[in-house]
């Protein structure tokens, strides 16, 4: 029996999946080719808002063209939104129709207006150039404030406003009262900049209809193939599950952008039946900029009321959230239930109110991106806490300590619906202060000043919510799906194990982490465990991977299935060893009769289960293969402290990150190396948002930052060595005690970076800088402050 301990929980097992990726043997959607396959090019609108007509006559006759489809050809359902949010007056959100191919009106640059299917991609592209498109431009709606006033008309004529919903949470009266009586009020206007997700692998999809069986297969770059099967099958194409197989093979990153059901998936699936040949589409990088759902894009006014000692009394938040031109799959939930419910942060603020108006504009749809709502909430909380501290002459550390939810207050009910189960915010703060050498900051600042440089330090003591759940609660809040997870654990006759999980790995390392759970629980090495995911025909069911839910929800489902395996194995062992099942104990992979030296290995038992010659047939079915669904009792609540230190050249405004410390409480850690990698990636994206990245539109609705020439992706030399640490409190409502680590880096870090920049500039009188804090913005702020003084 191999020793499972060395590959169990807490071991930094090297990632099992990396070998195939590193030797170029990954199997991504674009690596897949079907016999007799065609290629499609999506002709996309170059106008942000226009009535249009097109002439495909010449293009249809071009070399290699198999078929060209336009919007009116594709008579299918509307692309659905997965979450209904009701306005505060009780009316449901406005859901304008979202056809996969625009019919007669386009609403953003990048919207599909024709689908050219040809023998080669080049043929399709050549034909696309022969399509005559006639645009009759309509005034473009970009600015959310203008959209709110219908200043330039409507994005959707069939709804009477550009407002999707006007939603609120919290006690507005209590907040107003607290504000009117408070000793101090701090106000802040923030913009959470729009981001482009930039997964390393661009999206791709192959539709493959088999006429003889009526079976559809969709290969797609998805984080949740079962969800795509449901959304596309039930709502868009009207295909039943048993005739629709969705395969998401190796997927090269998603960050949320591959959760959603996109038009291209419906188009290739539908078209493969129309032309009776497989249809392949792969996005190029430029196309990804204008067709992958964007992230963030909030404009918010915040008010924080404090008593004379700096204790928070109330928080008032008013947000405009950009939806883009159509509702993407989870767009409506991001600025509401994944955002405003987080506004207590790590603090005891007794009264909170948040109003969110979500707005349609002539831009690419906006949806979840690493953190999804929680970075937006964290950003405004941590920024205004900092500003309040500065105004009241309290230190950045003290104001946080004063207001932290104390360790003995858990479970803690916030005024915005959530109930936190565990956390220790002083512990993560203390550890981070030490790791960041906070005590040495003043000396480092003096050394910078000597060189003529400004130095600042910024904090973020954030909290987030992972593993969005339970189904009954999210259902009452408008979710149109359950948020459980499913797993099947199959012990093979000779004792190796395949786990079928509804979670989907697209970079997270599930094939390793989940194998470690099996190793720990069943006492076998991870080499004996295979993790299977991403195919609706293999996996019983799945809700997929997003919101840092895979371990807390998907992992628990695996544990639950393993518990069933163990229970059955004990009965088999009891029968064979002629003992009572109650007396069988599982120790390091051995099923032992307590108090004796008699034992059976898992392999002995599984062989008996599949070769059931001596077997309790009257009590048990043969085989050792168990399935479980797990619906969590609550969210999990990771939190922690991020500290950023920057040095600024006042002559150029250039900001250099000199220190980045993250001490997080992500609950029990299964694989420390993988967790550290996740934190690093999140920090990179968080710092990218704070200093570099910005999806900018001009007033005509053209994306200015439409390539890497203009969209500033962070690179290694923008960073320093990250100092990462853990302070664990266990999640109290799952068996593993795990919380989630996928998003904390991106959630916690942006305000720490901006607070550091503001701290460096504060001696000049600067109290705000917007994201991204580009060198010109910083230089201008310095100049403006100098001119004022």
């Amino acid at each position: 029996m191999p020793d499972g301990g060395s590959t169990g929980i807490g071991a930094s097992v090297k990632r099992k999946e990396d070998y195939r990726f590193l030797v170029g043997q990954g199997n991504y959607t674009d690596d897949i080719n079907r016999p007799n396959q065609t290629y499609t090019y999506m002709l996309r609108s170059s106008s942000a808002h226009a009535k249009f007509s097109l002439d495909i006559t010449k293009a249809s006759e071009a070399d290699g063209v198999v078929k060209i489809f336009v919007g009116t050809d594709m008579d299918v359902g509307s692309i659905p939104c997965g979450w209904q949010v009701d306005s505060k007056d009780g009316t449901p959100m406005r859901e304008p129709a979202h056809p996969p191919i625009a019919k007669d009106k386009v609403r953003y640059v990048g919207e599909i207006i024709a689908v050219i299917i040809a023998e080669t991609l080049e043929d399709a592209k050549n034909a696309a150039e022969l399509i005559d498109v006639n645009y009759e431009d309509i005034p473009v709606i970009i600015d959310m404030q203008e959209a709110l006033n219908n200043a330039n008309g409507l994005v959707h004529d069939e709804i009477e406003s550009n407002v999707c919903y006007d939603w609120e949470i919290g006690d507005s009266e209590a907040v107003d009262k607290a504000i009117s009586e408070a000793a101090h009020i701090t106000t802040l206007d923030v913009r959470n900049n729009r981001l482009i997700p930039n997964a390393m692998e661009t999206r791709s999809a192959i539709g493959d209809y088999e006429h003889s069986t009526g079976q559809y297969t969709l290969y797609t770059t998805s984080q949740n193939p079962h969800v795509i099967r449901l959304l596309m099958g039930a709502f868009v194409l009207g295909l039943p599950e048993h005739k629709l197989r969705v395969i998401a093979p190796d997927v090269g990153g998603g960050f949320g952008s591959k959760i959603f059901h996109y038009a291209e998936e419906s188009i290739v699936t539908w078209a493969s039946n129309q032309i009776r040949r497989p249809v392949k589409w792969t996005s190029d990088r430029s196309e990804a900029f204008i067709s992958d759902a964007h992230g963030r894009d909030h404009v918010t006014s915040v008010k924080l009321a404090l008593d004379k000692d700096g204790k928070f009394l109330a928080l008032k938040v008013d947000t405009l959230a950009n939806m883009g031109a159509y509702l993407s799959t989870f767009a409506s939930s991001v600025p509401t239930y994944l955002y405003a419910t987080l506004l207590a942060g790590t603090y005891t603020t007794p009264a909170i109110h948040c109003n969110v108006k979500s707005i349609f504009t002539n831009t690419v749809p906006v949806d979840a991106y690493r953190g999804a709502g929680r970075p937006e909430a964290t950003y405004l909380i941590e920024r205004i806490v900092d500003k309040a501290a500065r105004e009241m002459g309290i230190s950045q550390v003290d104001i946080r300590r004063k207001n932290f939810i104390p360790v003995d207050a858990f479970p803690y009910q916030t005024p915005v619906a959530l109930q936190y189960d565990s956390g220790n915010y002083n512990a993560t703060l203390d550890a981070a202060l030490k790791k960041a050498d906070y005590d040495g900051f003043e000396a480092r600042k003096a050394a910078s000043a000597k060189k003529g440089m400004l130095r600042g330090i910024g904090f973020s003591t954030y909290l987030e919510a992972c593993g969005i759940a339970p189904s009954a609660v999210v259902g009452s809040l408008g979710a149109r799906a359950g948020l459980f997870e499913c797993a099947e654990v199959r012990v093979h006759p000779t004792g190796s194990v395949t786990v079928f999980t509804g979670s989907h790995s697209h970079g997270q390392g599930h094939e390793t982490t989940f194998a470690q759970l099996v190793s720990e629980k069943l006492g076998i090495s991870t080499d004996m465990v295979e993790i299977s995911h991403g195919d609706t025909n293999n996996i019983p069911f799945g809700m997929g991977t997003y919101g840092s839910r895979s371990l807390a929800v998907g992992g628990e489902a695996i544990v639950k299935a393993m518990d069933k395996v163990i229970a059955k194995a004990k009965k088999i062992a009891a029968h064979i060893m002629e003992a009572s099942a109650d007396d069988i104990e599982l120790n390091n992979g051995n099923f032992e009769i307590a108090g004796t030296d008699k034992s059976m290995s898992l392999a002995d038992i599984s062989l008996a289960a599949y070769v059931p010659h001596n077997y309790p047939h009257e009590e048990l079915e043969p085989g050792l293969d168990e399935k479980a669904f797990y619906d969590p009792l609550n969210f999990t609540y990771p939190g922690g402290c991020h500290i950023c230190e920057v040095e600024i050249n006042p002559n150029t405004g250039e900001v250099k990150v000199e220190g980045m410390t993250a001490v997080d409480d992500v609950g029990k850690v299964i694989n420390p190396m993988i967790v550290e990698g996740q934190i690093h990636g999140g920090l990179a994206q968080g710092i990218g948002q704070a200093l570099l990245e910005n999806a900018a539109y001009d007033s005509n609705g053209q994306l200015l930052s439409g390539s890497y020439m203009d969209y500033a992706m962070p690179r290694a030399d923008n960073f320093v060595d990250f100092k990462v640490g853990n302070e664990v409190t266990l999640c109290t409502h799952n068996s593993l005690g795990v919380k989630g680590c996928g998003e904390v880096g991106a959630i916690g870090s942006p305000p720490a970076v901006i607070n550091a920049v503001v701290d460096a500039l504060s001696e000049l009188g600067v109290d705000d800088i917007s994201m991204p804090a580009t060198s010109e913005k910083v230089w201008s702020a310095i100049n403006n402050a100098k001119n004022k003084n």
Partner: protein, 264 residues
């Protein structure tokens, strides 16, 4: 990319003969700009005539002059011990272009012929008063650059060599665009026996230019603090989503201030 033919002649003469054969042929000199534009269908050619086989990759250094073949790659200039010894600013400039992949393919001739307003090499050529040698003639740097993406090159004319006379001192200071890493502002400064010359890339609406405001001040007073209070006019400077003309004017001064330390 549209369908096209590819040829790799073994001499400059053959290359010119080849390009004259078709109406829409283009020279390929590294391709670090050309290939992406072709792939994105932003430009087209019926024939690419690759200059890689034409024996134009070499570096030769004498006591007064450096001659660089037009197909010499950035990485070769960056790592040349001769150039590092006699004109280190040029090696530094080449070593700061793009990434490893770009430096391993991109060439000095390709960069000059394209004359991207944010490319690094044009500033060195202009500030050093280099000579651009073609298959037809020799062009003075002042006469070579004719505005954004425009040069004095005739159709079917090929740059074969660039000649730099070795100055007393030179330096290149670049403030990279955070997205593209091209120069948001790049300042090449030269001290020669007859005075100071300063060329700026990345900032001019008409491409690379000589900055007389800085040259005049430094020719009168080559001192570390000489530029502290100078105001650079931003009349002909570029404004875009990354930097306003005013900010670019500031960066020109700040980069020049940094460079000054290397000239004194």
């Amino acid at each position: 990319m549209y369908d096209l033919q590819y040829s790799k002649p073994s001499s400059v003469n053959d290359a010119v003969a080849e390009i004259k054969k078709s109406s829409d042929a283009k020279f390929l000199a590294g391709g670090m700009t050309m290939i992406p534009t072709l792939k994105a269908r932003l430009s087209s050619a019926d024939m690419l005539v690759d200059l890689k086989g034409s024996n134009l990759s070499y570096i030769s250094v004498s006591s007064s002059e450096i001659s660089i073949g037009s197909m010499t790659r950035h990485c070769d200039v960056a790592s040349s011990s001769d150039i590092k010894g006699s004109l280190p600013a040029l090696a530094k400039l080449a070593g700061g272009i793009g990434d490893h992949m770009v430096r391993s393919c991109g060439t000095i001739g390709g960069s000059l012929a394209n004359n991207d307003p944010a490319a690094c090499y044009p500033s060195a050529v202009l500030a050093l008063g280099a000579t651009v040698v073609t298959n037809e003639r020799s062009l003075k740097a002042d006469d070579f650059f004719e505005g954004m993406f425009e040069t004095a090159l005739n159709e079917d004319e090929v740059i074969t060599e660039v000649k730099f006379s070795i100055p007393e001192k030179a330096t290149y200071i670049k403030f990279p665009n955070p997205a593209s890493r091209y120069a948001m502002v790049g300042v090449f400064m030269v001290k020669k026996s007859d005075g100071i010359s300063v060329a700026v890339t990345g900032a001019g609406e008409n491409g690379v230019f000589r900055c007389e405001e800085i040259e005049n001040v430094l020719n009168l007073n080559l001192a570390l603090d000489a530029l502290n209070n100078i105001q650079i006019s931003h009349d002909d400077l570029t404004s875009d989503m990354h930097a306003s003309a005013a900010y670019r004017a500031n960066l020109i001064r700040e980069m020049a201030k940094q460079g000054l330390k290397d000239l004194i």
